[in-house]
Subunit: 358 residues, 4 copies
């Protein structure tokens, strides 16, 4: 159960709500208060919304709304923000209708490389620049990224091209320094259940791009988002990037059906990474277009001015021309589908609305 508290409620009035809920929750520690997209809320995930309790809460002046939210992730659940959350980064909006493409190299390699990439990304129609500086590499002997100086190069290149930047952070202790330089903090697939890191980015004051763990269920993923939301950071963008499969034909197994499914479960925007999902350059564009057709709010794509020279993820990195064509096709597909849609974009699509109440 989640209680949305009136904006003008006093500290005492808020405390009253907390008290009432804590009593119900049996004195357990699991009553949390957080500022969310729905306003200031108090959240008691295990508290059953019994009729009497709902009456008592509704009677309080401080209470704006009681949301039953039966999901184990009440702050991330669609019920809390039925219209969906729009996450804004500079002039760019995720979840507002138009697909947003993020592009850039796997790794920041040099000032020159990242600047060229930034210009190419912008010219191809991408709206944010990506680039890794702290690289989670399977082997301790592989290139580990340029670290903080790499983030600085990325930020400078983004600023020069007029693109906000997103980069991965792997360690709670480094979150403040990276948040100083980057517009969006990425939590990578391997760290989706690195709970101290999730708490740290929850307090960093920056939007977070939360990649799905490569063997995480949808529920585990939304609970990971809940860690961030519960710290008071309402700006979480989910990113599907493929799960581990049994067939070596592709690097991972892109679970595209999670896109329309998430629309029924959560209010958070969802984007797709077709580069890591497939691991093959030739599959990035078709799967990027398919992701938009499935309802994704955007893509994150590995693009390099000269893909064959990339220091990492070469086989799945596309060139600027392919990116430009992909961006064009994404917009064409979105437009074709919007043309056929009666209601407003951002609503739960008709076919999903039917299923949402099951």
């Amino acid at each position: 159960m989640v209680i949305v508290v009136r904006e003008d409620a006093s500290a005492d009035e808020r405390a009253e709500v907390m008290r009432l809920l804590s009593a119900q929750a049996g004195g357990s520690a699991s009553v949390t208060a957080a500022r969310t997209r729905a306003g200031y809320v108090v959240c008691a995930p295990e508290c059953v919304p019994a009729a009497k309790l709902v009456r008592q809460l509704t009677a309080l002046r401080a209470v704006a709304r009681v949301v039953p939210a039966a999901a184990p992730y009440p702050l991330a659940s669609r019920e809390l923000v039925p219209d969906g959350t729009v996450v804004t980064v500079g002039a760019v909006s995720f979840g507002a209708g138009a697909p947003v493409i993020i592009a850039g190299p796997c790794s920041v390699e040099s000032a020159e490389q990242i600047e060229a990439a930034a210009r190419a990304a912008r010219d191809a129609g991408a709206r944010l620049l990506r680039g890794g500086a702290f690289k989670p590499r399977t082997s301790p002997y592989a290139f580990q990224g340029l670290g903080l100086p790499g983030v600085e190069l990325l930020a400078r290149a983004g600023a020069a091209a007029g693109l906000p930047v997103v980069t991965e952070v792997m360690e709670p202790g480094l979150v403040p320094a990276v948040a100083e330089l980057a517009d969006v903090l990425q939590v990578g697939s391997r760290n989706m259940q690195n709970f101290p890191l999730l708490r740290a980015v929850g307090r960093a004051g920056r939007p977070v791009l939360l990649k799905r763990g490569f063997a995480a269920t949808i529920e585990e993923w939304l609970l990971a988002a809940e860690y961030i939301l519960a710290e008071g950071n309402p700006d979480v963008i989910l990113c599907e990037r493929g799960v581990r499969g049994f067939d070596p034909a592709t690097r991972n197994l892109l679970d595209l059906a999670c896109v329309p499914l998430l629309r029924t479960l959560t209010h958070l925007p969802v984007i797709v990474d077709p580069s890591h999902a497939t691991g093959r350059r030739d599959l990035v564009a078709p799967m990027g277009v398919a992701a938009i057709a499935a309802g994704a709010d955007g893509l994150i794509v590995e693009m390099h001015p000269r893909p064959d020279d990339a220091l990492s993820d070469r086989e799945q990195t596309i060139d600027p021309d392919t990116l430009a064509r992909l961006v064009r096709r994404c917009h064409a597909v979105r437009a074709a589908l919007d043309h056929d849609t009666a209601g407003e974009r951002g609503d739960v699509p008709e076919e999903l609305a039917a299923g949402a109440g099951r």
Copy 2:
């Protein structure tokens, strides 16, 4: 290696080709002759196309073309039919550009039900009618279908509505009887590696819809198709229907990336079954549209005049209105993408062509 033989070659000339190859293949039994989309061919899958052998073969009057075909499935490989195979069923063509939607109930339940379904499918824009009469059910106590009388009802309903019909066959002994009545024979997911059945449908003189096994690799799937092709049946349509995953959130895990990947590996048309892939009514339409965006040649969808009354697969069965909207959206997406495509449809798309030679 595959040798395409001239149409006018005599029996002796053909035998000469066989002899030459058999000698090379070390007397093993693995030299096969079959009538394929590329004409009459002789196939020696393990034979390395050494320069000398190629010269010897090319010198024979009977030899039209030598195809190196390094894949373990030479008859299914893209190299053999670079332009792609178009499978024709009555007035309908799979692989010719326009997406083909197959729709109908999970099971044939009665004359009335299947006739209503046939009319609804046709009116919604579907081009073939599906309906199961031999149902592979996990439990021996579940409804097992109406059997041959069900196939008759299906065929009659299809004829009345002007739609060819597709139905599953599970047993080699029943293939001739079902082939008598149905336009397309479906081999279900659980039977993808039922090799006696594959041989039987390979000799049945009907196009075959070959569903991917729910834990089959792409290579295993193409080798299953090869069993059918090697019997002389060139009309195989591949159907992705989701693989087994670890997350109970959806019934299966739709591997949509296999669609553009298959385009680089095989000349056979590929369709997608979003009903079994997701197991959820509300996800069928978005994933159907996404499949077309990924390049699929069509869909097979479970639709019932009154989904809630269906005897099987109720939760994943859509109604006629949802189907009509899905068909419309598939065509809209296909048109939007074609508009942006320089070359001819049916060619390997540009982004795939680049990767195909890797």
Copy 3:
């Protein structure tokens, strides 16, 4: 619900039981009668054992016992035969305490080879001889086995060495011919849900070795066994052989925990195939011993007089000396564990009994 019928019940009395249950089951077809290890039974899987119905049934002279059997596979469920089923093949018993080792080559290749294999298997302590004559091969171009003549060679070699034989059958139409020659019929992993085949072996009058499908859940597996039991064949031996995993380090992923789990769910004996499970010669023996330690009733192992010359499955085939050592170690482990067991073998072990009631 399952009703065990008295041996001396008349046809009329039996019919009375059927009538009563059919009425309850709402006229559905799912009331089945079969001869089982527990005697002649009538099975109504969807029938809830309401107190009134149980009273009515118990009042009938024909009814020996009413078994609630809540599982979807009542005939396979432990409740029906709490002491466990012992499957007897000649002088050999599966499920009677001592581990039974089945060994032999992947394929029957020649009279000489299979006779040498039979002698080597017997001398190493194996009690049954295995050998494939109908080989389910992924590629149509791979060696497909010798067919019925191969089964004859196998039967002759087994008889000469004094070992009963087990061989795979893939096609319903061939079941009678194979059952004529072989002592145990194997249903392979790819055919676990080949339902016409399951029915055919259910009527063949021979014990059946039912391998788990490589992506089958335990429940699906037991329901496949139920197909056989429902045809009146009580002699089913389950065989775990590894499921499909994501790590290419081993050919499959051996799910050994299914062994003690099955002990709580079913009365059928369970054996393990460490050869296919691992795909590596060096892992066969350690995993075979581990299977016995986990409580398996036996093993089926690929052994060849000269493993490096085997026509198929070379990498996972062990030699006679390794087999002899493995048999010895299996017995040693079984003895060490029996020594520590208070109760009688064949009972559900103490640690399982605790959990069985959950």
Copy 4:
């Protein structure tokens, strides 16, 4: 390639080795020096051991041994320490022959609870005490553990019972404080690829229990161990705890075949966690015994004085009596197998040795 350096080599002589290798490795950063079980080594993972280079290195006075080590994880590879590493914690040795059982509650809940658990573990024959104080919980609202005060309670209880203690650490910043109190640091499954954490425990001066990620390949796991070894910590114990599977029948899918496989790949000791692997109390003991039969060096088991009162992991926690029986059975199985083993324990078993050279 790994170079083992003589103990008495001077700083200059060591530098000479580094110089020679760095030149060969093309100036890349991937030449690492570390103190390992094999002595002080210099490791150049991508350097091919060409004959000339090996001659040059062998000619240096400082070089004791050149190990080709073709694996991507040279420090973890079996070749470096063919006899296997024995990790010693107080009076207990992992990898020395006798199986070592670690037991204790999932979470430290109170002084009383952990003290009772410590006594029960010791009396049942366990040699180390486990207990979580930093709990990685899927939901932010679940009990998160007592933190550092919990580690203190654990350490005190262990000391009182005469058992060394092992506990999980999740955050690089907390490693020194936990290492102050605990005898063994556990890196949990979700953190197997938390690379900053791996580096931190690599510098902590304590043995590390490295759990396999729940979707990690064997190679990824050994590369995670390599991160720790490369920091100079030679004391890594690997722990298999089940991987994610498709069947909800068990919590995870225990990959027991990894135990004998790892014996061929690495010199590090391997233990098994049957509690998390199965998630069912009744399967812990049979799978624990099976693990020892497969060659595991020990087990880690969740045990609670009153399992039904445990705050977490109740369903998979056994009681002291079951633990005592399990310990007894593990030793019985180990003894039965040792009795049958010609060579010395600690060697690669005969059946593995044969395969190791493939």
